[in-house]
């Protein structure tokens, strides 16, 4: 018997409002409630509600044989609570079936693992607590933001008590090896790794509706046929994707819901595959090898690296400016500031600053509400300056009269007009 592991990323960032230089010091509401509400309702209508209903129907129909897993970011859960209680209820119903696993991640879908182990751990703990409160299960599997993983991150995750982690089956890491097996962290700490089969995942998530694609139109039967071609010694196919694939990235008219509706019966009826959750897979599968990932990888873009979020000048300066505030924020008691701190860390803010494909207007543009990466950057920095002032205010920190490390009196005197020189 072989296994299919479905995992869906459910995430919506708290988008910033247009925040101008002149807002600094006057407006401390950074997030665009109107837009965030609007987008949440739109995606709820097109994706979350109908897809959750379909998942529930499929789970009931297949009597425990159809299983799936989710990681829902904390910042998304907060927005469900604010704008989409109906969506939250439907996820709770799914949780009640016992066929759905909810995974842990950073609360704000952040890049904290790359900046600060302390902040990373604090966010993971906060998220796990939230998941347990809402869905009654304590997460045992970890999925980092956008499947970002490295040996070092694996160490942090293991230290937090997780035995299994999801990441990308990137070519540059696997080389000739297959993603359809279980691997483990390179340091020997025993952290098990499930790798995304990006070929089959992306057939569903990216190529499904593309008429120019040779696989089009993709049916459940055809997909089952592809799965059947998996070599005999490979054990698991990990289909990892954005949940918004259903109805949002792939619109309803592409037939994505029909495909999903028929997929479980096609797989269960025409193949020797069964559905498993990540923790189930982890319970009976043994790692075949250690996976060396010295530099962080992700599931984004061709490069499968971090360059969607970090690496250009504006991304790096924004990121460093943010985490320079960490020590101060840690001392703050104010809840609003703490929450803003979380939401400002969401990876999407840095994604909007990506200049890689700016000229081509590609997938990055689709996911950004800014006209250019520079607009996104300047907007973010304005917010961050106000945030820094708010942190200082909250801690009672006054900016001292400039502490002068060297005096310029002599040279300054030379620069002054006549009539002023004697004043120095």
């Amino acid at each position: 018997m072989k296994n299919i592991c479905f995992y869906f990323q459910v995430h919506q960032p708290m988008r910033l409002r247009p925040y101008r230089f002149f807002d600094i010091g006057t407006n401390h509401n950074y997030f665009d409630d109107t837009v965030n509400h609007e987008i949440m309702r739109k995606v709820a209508g097109k994706c979350y509600l109908p897809t959750n209903q379909l998942m529930l129907d499929l789970i009931n129909e297949h009597k425990g044989h159809f299983k799936i897993s989710y990681s829902i970011s904390g910042v998304c859960l907060d927005q469900f609570e604010m704008y989409a209680q109906d969506v939250l209820e439907s996820f709770k119903k799914l949780a009640d079936t016992g066929c759905v696993e909810f995974m842990a991640e950073t609360y704000s879908h952040s890049l904290a693992a790359l900046a600060s182990p302390d902040e990373f751990k604090a966010q993971v703990e906060r998220h796990a607590k939230k998941i347990e409160e809402l869905f009654g299960q304590k997460p045992t599997t970890f999925r980092n933001t956008e499947l970002i993983y490295s040996d070092h991150i694996g160490t942090l995750v293991k230290e937090l008590g997780y035995d299994t982690m999801l990441t990308e089956g990137a070519d540059h890491i696997l080389d000739w090896r297959s993603p359809n097996l279980m691997y483990e962290n390179a340091t020997g700490n025993g952290l098990k790794l499930l790798l995304k089969n990006y070929k089959l995942s992306d057939d569903m998530a990216f190529r499904f509706g593309a008429k120019e694609w040779e696989g089009w139109p993709l049916t459940a039967d055809k997909f089952a046929g592809w799965i059947n071609q998996t070599p005999w010694d490979e054990e698991i196919i990990n289909l990892f994707m954005d949940y918004e694939t259903f109805g949002e990235h792939q619109w309803e008219h592409t037939g994505i819901f029909d495909f999903l509706k028929h997929l479980p019966s096609a797989v269960l009826g025409q193949t020797d595959f069964r559905f498993v959750t990540p923790s189930e897979a982890s319970s009976f599968m043994k790692p075949v090898a250690k996976l060396d990932v010295p530099n962080p990888m992700s599931w984004a873009d061709e490069e499968r690296d971090l360059t969607a979020w970090l690496g250009n000048n504006i991304q790096d300066d924004a990121f460093e400016s943010l985490y320079r505030l960490e020590d101060k924020v840690k001392q703050v008691k104010d809840d609003k500031i703490k929450q803003d701190w979380l939401y400002l860390q969401t990876s999407d803010h840095f994604y909007y600053m990506c200049t890689k494909f700016w000229a081509d207007g590609d997938v990055h543009k689709y996911f950004s509400h800014y006209d250019s990466p520079y607009d996104g950057f300047l907007n973010y920095m304005n917010v961050l300056v106000d945030f820094e002032e708010e942190v200082n205010k909250s801690l009672g920190i006054k900016i001292e009269e400039a502490e002068v490390k060297r005096s310029v009196s002599d040279r300054f005197k030379d620069l002054l007009p006549e009539g002023f020189k004697t004043d120095v």
Partner: protein, 433 residues
């Protein structure tokens, strides 16, 4: 004084308040107001009236409303003379929107052939759009009709856009011409001058009986690079339009010091020197904030540079600011810096000074010639800029004295003085005729 007819100036200018895009319109307003106060008549020809101009105080001709009668033989002869306007290369105007870089050309000969024995009006946007040269040419055609219809004593033209028009007016009327240089092509484009614009400037200057410019700096350029005879070119420094004092909102960052650059973000304004000076200062005073207000072709490049220097949390870009926002920014500003590489005059430091902000200005600006209460630096001397900022922040009493003396000094830079000088130049010309 006898009741002799007032002397009348036929003045060509591309913009007039409130519809302006830069200092040129403000200068046209100040000079015209001043001339009127000094008892002269001014008929101001704009490409287009936008409807909010002060028609009680000023007399306008809108080129868009003038019907040109081509049956006049004198016109068709003169039209041939502006065939040089058929320019087939790309031209950068002084307010430089990128769209302008491509345009189709007006074939003047075609116009003459098709319009004979008929009359026509021309549409103008009055902006600096992609059809700017087209409009410059049409404006020159309209100028003939204006010169024929109107009574006047002397012609005055502001910057190259209006030079072809002024030349036509001179051809038709035989009146003397004063051209006014607010900025040369060298100020706008550095050493990469647009040859066609330069040629238009030269034609205007050569056709002129007197050349007026806004600073000794510009006069030097006109003599050195345009070959103007020194005794033909006169300096009339700009003034400042008197405005009621505005009360500015208190700083939004109460504990922070703010150092401001405000202007087009383009090579000639020296914005990169400002960025480098900021870097030098931040290593010493890490909590000073810098603001770069404006837009321009170096905008993105400098955002990148500031980020690369890891200063983005202390260096802010506001984008283009309107009048109220500019005032609000000055209200927050502790020090204003204008590190221009080449600035024929430079009105913004005066605006800053009037609001009580001490200024640091480059010696390579015309305004440095008229100001005493300012710190003057060479634009390239980033360390001096950093030292001056640090010194002013360390010595608030000096900053305060510079600011208060400065705002008094600015009040004395009046357009009426500039206009009086201009009137003397006119009268001298008319006397010699």
């Amino acid at each position: 004084m006898s009741e002799a007819r007032k002397k009348k100036v036929l003045m060509f200018g591309w913009e007039f308040p409130p519809h302006i895009s830069g200092g040129l319109g403000t200068a046209c307003f100040g000079l015209t107001s001043g001339l009127i106060e000094h008892g002269m008549d001014v008929l101001f020809v704009v490409p287009k009236l936008f409807g909010k101009e002060d028609n009680d105080k000023f007399k306008f001709v809108s080129a868009s409303d003038v019907e040109v009668n081509f049956s006049d033989d004198q016109f068709s002869e003169n039209l041939k003379k502006i065939s040089y306007l058929q320019i087939h290369s790309h031209i950068v105007p002084y307010v430089a929107p990128e769209e302008f870089l491509k345009r189709k050309d007006l074939d003047v000969q075609e116009l003459v052939n098709n319009s004979k024995n008929s009359s026509a009006k021309f549409a103008f946007t009055g902006k600096y759009g992609k059809d700017l040269l087209d409009e410059v040419s049409k404006y020159a055609v309209v100028a003939m009709q204006v010169a024929k219809d109107q009574e006047f004593d002397i012609i005055h033209a502001h910057d190259w856009l209006t030079f072809p028009a002024a030349i036509m007016a001179k051809e038709i009327s035989g009146k003397q011409l004063v051209v006014h240089i607010h900025a040369t092509e060298f100020d706008r484009s550095g050493e990469h001058v647009n040859q066609d614009v330069y040629n238009l400037e030269r034609r205007g200057i050569e056709a002129a009986d007197r050349v007026v410019c806004v600073s000794r700096l510009t006069r030097r350029i006109l003599i050195d690079k345009y070959g103007v005879a020194p005794d033909k070119v006169f300096v009339v420094h700009n003034g400042v339009v008197a405005k009621p004092k505005i009360v500015y909102p208190a700083s939004k960052l109460p504990n922070r010091k703010i150092v401001t650059f405000l202007g087009r973000i383009t090579f000639q304004k020296g914005p990169d020197y400002f960025v480098n000076a900021a870097k030098r200062l931040l290593t010493i005073m890490p909590d000073v904030h810098f603001v770069m207000a404006g837009s321009g072709d170096m905008h993105l490049q400098l955002i990148e540079k500031v980020a690369e220097m890891k200063m983005s949390s202390r260096f802010h870009f506001t984008g283009f600011l309107n009048f109220e926002e500019t005032n609000a920014l000055f209200g927050m500003t502790d020090i204003y810096v204008m590190p221009s590489v080449s600035e024929p005059f430079g009105i913004t430091p005066l605006e800053a000074m009037r609001t009580g902000v001490p200024v640091i200005i480059s010696k390579q600006s015309g305004v440095a010639e008229v100001l005493d209460n300012a710190v003057k630096i060479d634009f390239w001397d980033e360390q001096a800029v950093a030292d001056a900022i640090q010194g002013l922040l360390e010595h608030p009493e000096i900053a305060k004295k510079l600011a208060s003396n400065g705002s008094g000094e600015v009040e004395e830079l009046k357009w009426e003085y500039a206009a009086l000088k201009l009137k003397e130049i006119y009268l001298d010309l008319l006397k010699n005729k």
